[in-house]
């Protein structure tokens, strides 16, 4: 097909967490502009496997922008040059023929590299486990329409809840801070009536875990918001800060 592109890829290759990595250059030929970025890598990998080389490892799953698995830092930006999409929804038409594309893993001490471009994001898991829930058991809950929730509040909580947990916020932040991720979950439950009983406990527990994981601190650059594929807003961070200081300075809940 005419209009296909040839690209030079500089890909970070690293055997495992403890080994030293380096960039390896590959040629990606005959790339269709309709391919997704990951499909382009699939094709490169097919070539590598056929040559008896190890394919490039990267996390991916749903390939429709919702599971949050994919996580590539492309030409200096998490999820690449296009705004508001995850790497799996980035298409090759966002690149130019002959371009050099540098592909790196998320870089953060809290996200150790597993192999090549795949990182271990279990720090996010531990933060969620520390308090990202409403403590209700199955059964014995009131009717769903028992509590009326103003639509604006419900919509705001929904917007916070859309976070896909990909970690682009950490990757984009010059400090590798996880504030946007943590604040999105804290906010969702802080906004809803269901989250109120544990509101001030939750924020303390989740922030404490976040600090323990070794993420950097927030300097309000806004890079996280700009690179978030689902547009989680900085307002969440302000809300979390507010709740955290309220909890620490004025509430008696302790964790």
């Amino acid at each position: 097909m005419s209009g296909n592109m040839n690209l030079t890829l500089k890909v970070w290759r690293q055997k495992n967490e403890s080994s030293k990595g380096q960039f390896v250059t590959y040629k990606a030929g005959d790339v269709s502009p309709d391919m997704s970025f990951l499909e382009m890598l699939d094709v490169v990998n097919e070539g590598l496997v056929k040559k008896g080389d190890e394919p490039i490892h990267f996390d991916h799953d749903c390939r429709e922008g919702i599971c949050g698995s994919c996580s590539l830092h492309i030409n200096g930006r998490p999820h690449g040059p296009k705004h508001g999409v995850a790497t799996c929804q980035l298409h090759m038409r966002s690149f130019e023929d002959g371009q050099t594309v540098v592909i790196e893993p998320w870089r953060a001490s809290a996200f150790p590299i597993i192999k090549d471009l795949a990182t271990n994001r279990s720090a996010f898991e531990r933060i969620q486990r520390a308090g990202g829930y409403v403590s209700v058991n199955t059964g014995g809950v009131p009717d769903a329409n028992e509590i009326a929730i103003p639509k604006v509040i419900a919509d705001e909580a929904f917007s916070s809840a859309t976070c896909i947990g990909c970690g682009a916020c950490v990757a984009a932040c010059k400090n590798a801070s996880a504030m946007l991720f943590v604040s999105a979950k804290v906010s969702q439950l802080a906004l809803l009536p269901q989250g109120q009983p544990e509101r001030y406990r939750r924020v303390q527990a989740m922030v404490a875990q976040m600090d323990e994981e070794g993420f950097g601190s927030c300097t309000n650059t806004g890079a996280c918001e700009a690179e978030c594929p689902v547009g989680i807003s900085l307002t969440n961070i302000a809300r979390m800060n507010r709740d955290y200081f309220t909890a620490k300075l004025f509430k008696e809940d302790e964790v």
Partner: protein
């Protein structure tokens, strides 16, 4: 660890300290600026020298000023601590990072801007604050006509260790108010006629501008003061008042003296 110690050693707590000290320093800037307007007065520094005396010898203000020095030190120290922590959070950096694509330059360079400002503050205080307190400066004697306060006669008195830094009395017979002041104004005027010194000041004020364009708004975000209705106001204040107007007026002072002497 007590609850408070724990709070202020958390990443958010450290940021709160940055925010509060930063905002305190912002309020000081306004006071400092208003005071320094005295420099523009055409009175050979009489008002300015009186102001300098007030600022350094009125107890409540002295208390506040020590709070201020502490704030500067704490602000810088915590910035350093946070920066080191942030470096540790990303031990291996990116080969390519397109920072401009997602964040303003100022927000990413607060450390550099802050360092420039810290150096500036040290120079600034060394040249004026230190000299005013410790150096053997000459005195200015102002004879102000009681009938016409615009009529001020000024003369220089040499350094005298026994002399008060500032004295003010009314000579009813002569119909004059006599003010004798350690002449900080002269020091300022002299410094501000040195081009490289003026350049340093202007450059520092540019750094201040950039530092505040990000810092002012950021401080509110850190405290959690985020409200749809008020954020535009905070942004406006941060950019136009603290980011542009205040540094511009500060920079205008050395430029004013430089031009006056040419």
């Amino acid at each position: 660890m007590s609850n408070f110690a724990q709070t202020f050693s958390s990443s958010l707590g450290k940021k709160l300290i940055m925010s509060l000290t930063g905002l305190f320093l912002c309020t000081f800037l306004i006071v400092h600026l208003v005071g320094n307007f005295q420099l523009f007065k055409d009175d050979n520094g009489q008002a300015f020298n009186s102001y300098a005396y007030l600022m350094t010898h009125f107890t409540p203000i002295k208390v506040v000023s020590y709070l201020l020095y502490t704030s500067i030190i704490v602000h810088a120290l915590y910035a350093l601590i946070l920066t080191m922590g942030n470096r540790k959070a990303r031990p291996v950096g990116y080969a390519v990072q397109a920072g401009n694509a997602n964040s303003p330059w100022t927000s990413r360079n607060m450390g550099i801007l802050g360092t420039i400002l810290l150096i500036f503050i040290v120079i600034h205080m060394g040249d004026f604050w230190w000299k005013y307190h410790n150096a053997e400066l000459p005195y200015a004697k102002y004879e102000i006509s009681l009938d016409n306060p615009q009529d001020i006669k000024v003369s220089e008195l040499p350094w005298d260790a026994k002399r008060l830094i500032h004295s003010d009395y009314v000579d009813t017979q002569a119909g004059k108010e006599i003010v004798v002041s350690k002449d900080l104004y002269k020091v300022v005027a002299k410094a501000f006629t040195t081009p490289w010194y003026v350049a340093l000041y202007v450059l520092s004020m540019v750094a201040l501008s950039f530092h505040l364009i990000h810092g002012f708004r950021s401080a509110f975000q850190t405290i959690g003061w985020d409200h749809k209705k008020y954020v535009p106001l905070i942004r406006f204040l941060g950019v136009w008042i603290f980011g542009v107007l205040i540094p511009l007026l500060f920079a205008a002072m050395p430029i004013f003296f430089l031009l006056k002497n040419y």
